[in-house]
Symmetry: C2
Subunit: 415 residues, 2 copies
């Protein structure tokens, strides 16, 4: 007998039939003798519907300050509905079950409404209920802030709910059911020969998640890594009886396969900003990073290139595409103070990355990458590296070509 | 400065534009210097949508027992969304506001999920917030049961939430905004000359509400009466600046108008059951009432008529149309035990009632009523009376004719 946390995303609970299918999958684990907690997202489309209602009213004026507390009260209702419905579906299959809302557990968070962080999960109420064989159906994505209001963990927060709950409940594993059957070497819609990985390390998954692979939410992987809790990613769309091993995300030592590069990720959510003829004196880059931080814009890849003019250089960096306008506005305002001549920007760029813990011990990975891209005539604008990844910024037109090129350059199609 | 509770039903918050209009009406009261709590229903259609989701899954089997706790968690989300949206709309008008869910107030109820009764409303948290000038936007219809689960008060429960909250907050008045501009002498869709009443007593309103006038929920009127809290019923659809006095529901002494009959109500939700040749021995009627109570069926009008056969009588009574099948099944099962020969039933009946506190001191009201009906050839099947009302059960085909006949017989069209 084990204790398991299962998590089902929006497409897995999209309608009544899908919820029934999920109740079967849960029932299978109960029948196997396990104690089960299930974390559910809102039915797909529901969160967007609610966010649109909020956005319309939010746009009515500038008065009245922040509304994130109310946003949370509204948007969290989606998961509330799903958790109740799944509890009913389970009961009607003869499985004991009850729903748990964030404030009922309680799953406590800080006060950062709409992007709250979990501070503590109490298991005093849930633990005995699970031990009694009652499946706990938990509304994901939500908690309760220290002032007793509903908080939400930000988009994709249900993954984080699931992993955090699994840690708090001392679960043996956390199974994340989604609409794909595991983690792939790259996006199968781009590279037909992309291959499902049997195992992947936390570190690699973390890079892939933050580099644009949208299967798992970054914070959930961090949390699993910090607590050494294995996550299994698998599909809720398999037919009953069908083989569905998924991908295990676990400690490096437990990943058996010897690979240099594990996957190719890409993100179209980037925009490039270049400040032309920036005055070259100590502290200007820091000042610009400060301006971006004040505007709540995250700066990603940064590269500084010396221009031919004396005491001046161009500074190029990337920001999220959605933040581009905000970033440009903030920079325009400090043009004179910081000292640069012009700003150019480009949102038709893609960040393509290769990820692999094998890079730590293997040389020549960068050379293979740049040779392969150059051979296809793909220009690299900006480069960023970490111990286990290399990212390049390229013209968005070349996205698919670059992904396929790197996928075969590192022979990811072969096990 | 007064403290006011305002309540808005589903059609009043049906969409974003309606919610904006409600925020104006609330703003008017705030600008007048009042402390305001607002109780809102779900956007119209939303509760039905959620109930349908529940019903589909509930129909999957007989296992797993009651699901009312999950029904409550699901269905209460409708009011949760509206309260958040109205709080945002108010802030964007520059009005300080926050939403309150049942468990946050807390509005405590018993454990009778889906038809819970309020046991206590704490004002320790809300009171200082209102005093600070923050409009409290309360999700109606919901509370928290003694085991910390969400409970709901049953259909129309938002009226009850509003009145109970007004009592707990020691509000000066409770304004119930709806889609009609007050309480009418009868249904204006049936009698064109129906007239809005300026005032009506609690007792009369209570009879009208329980007799089919759907403007106010019965329990909310009881609660207002027991606490002598005046309710004003008015429309949220008036144009800004338009006169909108509504109808005041208050203590008998404060209703100035001298009327014998105040209104004519009707209900098509009735069904008639007759047990033929019931054995005439002590306790049979009680036994039948017991059978109905065990089946959770409410028996309304009862009349016993002696048949020509010795030691046998016919017993006629009415039940809610929705309970008819359940009632017939329960009766069929005890046919031999209790002793009657046959059951006949009729669901094409309507209950038409006249209501007025003046009946207490005026004679001849019944005569006027039966004369008027007889003159139009309307047969009366069953009669029931109380101190301030007379109800008759008639063939449903005559509903409109009977309503109009009684409305003019008591000259309700003239003030």
């Amino acid at each position: 007998m084990a204790r398991i946390v299962m998590k089902f995303g929006g497409t897995s609970v999209a309608n009544i039939d899908r919820i029934r299918r999920v109740s079967e999958l849960v029932d299978d684990e109960v029948k196997a003798g396990h104690e089960v907690a299930v974390v559910v997202s809102a039915m797909s489309g529901e969160t967007n519907r609610l966010v649109e209602l909020v956005d319309v009213l939010d746009g009515d004026g500038d008065q009245g300050g922040a509304i994130e507390d109310e946003y949370d009260a509204i948007v969290s209702s989606g998961e509330q509905v799903t958790s109740g419905l799944l509890a009913i579906a389970l009961r009607r299959r003869g499985v004991k079950a009850r729903s748990w809302l964030g404030w009922q557990i309680p799953l406590k968070t800080d006060m950062a409404h709409s992007k709250a962080r979990i501070s503590d999960i109490e298991t005093l109420a849930m633990d005995p209920s699970l031990k009694d064989g009652v499946v706990g159906v938990v509304a994901g994505f939500q908690g309760v802030s220290s002032d007793g209001r509903i908080s939400t963990l930000g988009r994709g927060g249900s993954d984080t709910s699931a992993v955090a709950l699994a840690v708090a409940l001392k679960a043996d594993r956390c199974d994340i059911y989604t609409d794909v059957d595991g983690i792939y070497t790259t996006d199968p819609r781009i590279a037909e020969d992309a291959r499902r990985l049997g195992k992947i390390s936390f570190e690699e998954m973390l890079e892939l998640a933050s580099l644009g692979a949208k299967v798992l939410q970054t914070r959930s992987v961090e949390l699993a890594m910090n607590n050494n809790l294995p996550i299994r990613v698998l599909t809720s769309f398999a037919q009953p009886g069908e083989d569905n091993p998924g991908t295990i995300v676990c400690n490096e030592e437990e990943t058996m396969e010897e690979r240099v590069v594990s996957g190719v990720a890409y993100s179209r959510d980037e925009a490039q900003i270049t400040l032309l003829r920036l005055e070259d004196r100590p502290g200007t880059v820091a000042a610009i990073c400060g301006v971006m931080a004040d505007a709540n814009v995250i700066v990603d890849m940064i590269v500084q290139g010396r221009s031919r003019a004396e005491n001046a250089a161009n500074l190029t960096f990337t920001v999220g595409k959605r933040d581009l306008e905000k970033a440009l506005k903030a920079l325009e305002a400090v043009k004179g103070d910081i000292g640069f001549e012009d700003i150019i920007s480009d949102s038709k760029v893609t960040k393509v990355s290769i990820v692999g813990i094998g890079m730590r011990s293997h040389t020549g990975v960068a050379k293979t990458m740049f040779d392969a891209l150059a051979k296809r005539g793909i220009n690299v604008e900006v480069i960023a590296t970490s111990e286990i990844k290399i990212s390049v910024l390229i013209d968005a037109e070349y996205t698919e070509l670059a992904v396929r090129t790197l996928h075969s350059a590192f022979e990811l199609e072969t096990a």
